[in-house]
């Protein structure tokens, strides 16, 4: 039971906010000797398994690391092409880690606008009058729930197929969006909801941010931060905690499920 990701899509189909909250998926690492018994091919700037499933390596998995060093798309860490590197017998035995390819931010943007069009087609092909677009999409590994507001913003949540209570979660996310994105005077409509730069390292609570405010100078971005995290008179702790939802530092789900 889990929430996998949250997407917020503006009325033009642009992705304005995204959050992933699942642990890295099952990955398989194995040492190979020269003729590689998997067929690899290049797809979307990644090296994918095209044929040959074994030991948890499946068709569609990408090469994630070679000899423990992460690859960078179709290039190895030192800039050589992965396919070329693996085609050279001198580099064997080699240990390769395979796993489901992670979505890049470009792909997320593309998928968000793709869903935007699917949503519209879903309502056009309706056999009944007055149908909305796709509200729930079911697969064997996840369910996608979508809530479109009257103003056209779509909140999309990917969750476990058995997870209940997503409808109220979507309403809650809408509420948080209204409170902390829309009411922020530095937020411009339809634009990405900016998250705080933590260098990819989630920070556990609001306090470091408040210290930052005291320490740093007043760029617009910092002003924005202070606006977001300034505790209000009524219930200051709760408000500043909730502001952090948009900051990548607290998993949205923990907070909302609590």
């Amino acid at each position: 039971m889990a929430i996998f990701s949250v997407y917020v899509v503006n009325k033009a189909g642009g992705l304005i906010y995204q959050l992933d909250s699942y642990a890295p998926r099952a990955e398989a690492e194995k040492t190979f000797s020269y003729p590689l018994d998997l067929l690899l091919k290049l797809h979307d700037e990644r090296v994918l398994v095209a044929f040959g499933q074994r030991d948890g390596i499946r068709v569609g998995h990408a090469v994630l690391a070679i000899n423990g060093v992460d690859v960078n798309g179709k290039y190895t860490a030192d800039g050589k092409e992965v396919l070329e590197y693996l085609g050279n017998p001198a580099n064997y035995p080699v240990s390769i880690r395979f796993g489901r390819p992670r979505l890049t931010s470009n792909e997320k943007l593309m998928l968000a606008s793709m869903f935007h069009s699917l949503f519209a087609i879903g309502s056009q092909l309706s056999p009944e009058q007055g149908s909305s677009g796709i509200e729930m999409l079911e697969t064997d590994t996840f369910k996608l729930h979508c809530f479109q507001t009257l103003t056209g913003i779509k909140f999309v949540v990917l969750a476990d197929p058995r997870q209940a209570g997503i409808d109220s979660l979507l309403r809650k996310i809408y509420e948080i969006y209204s409170d902390f994105a829309l009411k922020n005077p530095f937020y411009s409509l339809e634009m990405p909801i900016r998250t705080f730069p933590h260098g990819g390292q989630p920070s556990p609570c609001a306090r470091p941010l408040r210290n930052q405010r005291a320490a740093k100078t007043g760029t617009v971005e910092l002003q924005e931060k202070t606006m977001l995290t300034r505790p209000t008179r009524s219930n200051p702790e709760e408000k500043s905690q909730r502001a952090l939802i948009w900051s990548d530092s607290t998993p949205l789900t923990n907070l909302l499920m609590a």
């Binding site: 087609i121 056009q124 309706s126 056999p127 009944e128 009058q129 909305s132």
Partner: protein, 145 residues
């Protein structure tokens, strides 16, 4: 509960069969265009879902629902796609769609030497058996259709 319509596509996107029962709204475009739009949507959903999935998938896309209808999807390894639109009260109907494929399409079309594959099914027997099978489903409404 009710069944609105049913599409059968082959792997190239040709609409092999279409029938409707309780359909209150047409898409407002010629039928041929509608089939293409439907196939295109399913094709995109399939690729969308396989990219979005956090885990490796087995069956892939199963169904989606809007505020008014639910679309059920079943695909065979050979790429035949069975798509049924029902109202929201209908649960998983994978077995029903599988039955349409295995007991009707395979038996009456694939095994019929007079039915060329990859074209709209002309067989009257297939049409009538399919119609009576769908009408006999527990969630097919008793209302006149």
């Amino acid at each position: 509960m009710t069944v609105h319509n049913l599409y059968l596509f082959d792997r190239n996107g040709v609409c092999l069969h279409y029938s409707e029962w309780h359909r209150k709204k047409q898409a407002g475009i010629p039928k041929e265009e509608e089939y293409k739009l439907m196939y295109g949507m399913l094709f995109s959903i399939r690729s969308f879902v396989s990219k979005m999935s956090p885990l490796d998938m087995k069956d892939g896309f199963l169904a989606f629902q809007t505020s008014r209808y639910k679309l059920h999807y079943y695909e065979t390894p050979t790429g035949i796609k069975v798509v049924m639109n029902t109202d929201l009260g209908v649960g998983p109907i994978r077995d029903v769609l599988h039955h349409i494929y295995s007991a009707l399409y395979v038996e009456l079309v694939v095994k019929n030497p007079l039915c060329p594959l990859g074209q709209t099914v002309q067989s009257e027997l297939f049409r009538s058996r399919l119609d009576s099978y769908v009408r006999s489903l527990p969630f097919f409404s008793a209302r006149a259709g």
